[in-house]
Subunit: 233 residues, 2 copies
Amino acid sequence: MDTFYCSEIKVGLCHLPEGESHHAARVLRKRQGQSARLIDGNGMVATGTFEEIHKKNCVVRIQNITNHPPNKSFLHIAIAPTKNLDRTEWFLEKSTELGIQQITPILCKHSERKVVRKDRLQKVIMAATKQSMSAFLPTLDDLTPFAHLLDGLTTKYDQRFIAYCGDGPTIDISAIPKHDTKTIVLIGPEGDFSKEEYQLALDKGFVGLTLGKSRLRTETAGIYVAAAFRTAQ
Amino acid sequence: MDTFYCSEIKVGLCHLPEGESHHAARVLRKRQGQSARLIDGNGMVATGTFEEIHKKNCVVRIQNITNHPPNKSFLHIAIAPTKNLDRTEWFLEKSTELGIQQITPILCKHSERKVVRKDRLQKVIMAATKQSMSAFLPTLDDLTPFAHLLDGLTTKYDQRFIAYCGDGPTIDISAIPKHDTKTIVLIGPEGDFSKEEYQLALDKGFVGLTLGKSRLRTETAGIYVAAAFRTAQ
């Protein structure tokens, strides 16, 4: 059964948004009476059948709704997009499959990539959410300058980490709590964070995090952190 | 400092193999006197300087050799190559960065991809080993039919797992020992293992393994298992 996104799932008739309607009608060539699985990205999963097919407005009659409770842990990764954007897209796909909750692309001093197309990244996340049969769509933020991110953090995190390869006090990822915690991890660009950025994070209560012995690429570091927290789900 | 592969590292002069010599001379345009880092893929890491540059035979004078002890854990993943080979190459790159020891591409009943170019996959593993500054090159086996793999297992594993999405007794990856163990994990193609393959593995002492709540793609399952064992390194 194919999965479609619909922000408002309710008993009765649900109207798919235009992009999803086009996908259902023109790409998957759905017909009246065929089954559909709907997610609102926020825990609600419904099944039903297509009542109307139109490239701009498909209607699904809902037969069953399940509301999934959110994960007890919350993982937010703020990561510098890679020069080769494919690598960032792989991180988005894999971390979504693995169950991350929030992703912020960040702009750092050593960033080689200074622009991203958010709509393109959002599509990767949406496809991975559907593919993995998850009920939750991770939040994707706008590209944010490093200092703005730190200044603007309003969420109360239980722990804040910065993955940094330079000198400084660090804790290994195997040693940090992963169950029932709200965690933010900062991952820098190919050239790592600058010393000033690292210091700024320390000043904001972040702790240095090491990710094992061998050197990891930016996107691998991100996937590895997401995997470590999935194990704890 | 760039890293080069050399199967025989010894005090004195080391001759790089032809492919590595070409890479040093023609791609990286190394000059006499420049530094080089050599790995034999088996724990030996050396540093030295280029003594001779030739596209077919570069010579490095070794100044320092370190012999790294192998990891206490040993992870072998046997995985069905994906229809889209890019995904398998991503698995190879990421699992190598994360520190896997052995990879066997397997041919299963539901495999959509029935051929792989081993030389191409080997290049991905070599590049990832150098990139991650690791001293160990994972072993890449030939594409092996599923039943042959099970029949031919001569290594003594402490634990044997098959990641299977169908019904049957399973243990969650978070619950298995990862320190100081020799482990093999089988990961099937997009259409999963067949019931007969699953039963065959059970008969050979394998135990079903679950990889968390949401569904993972083949290559993500592989990366996730490699990540779980890295955390234990």
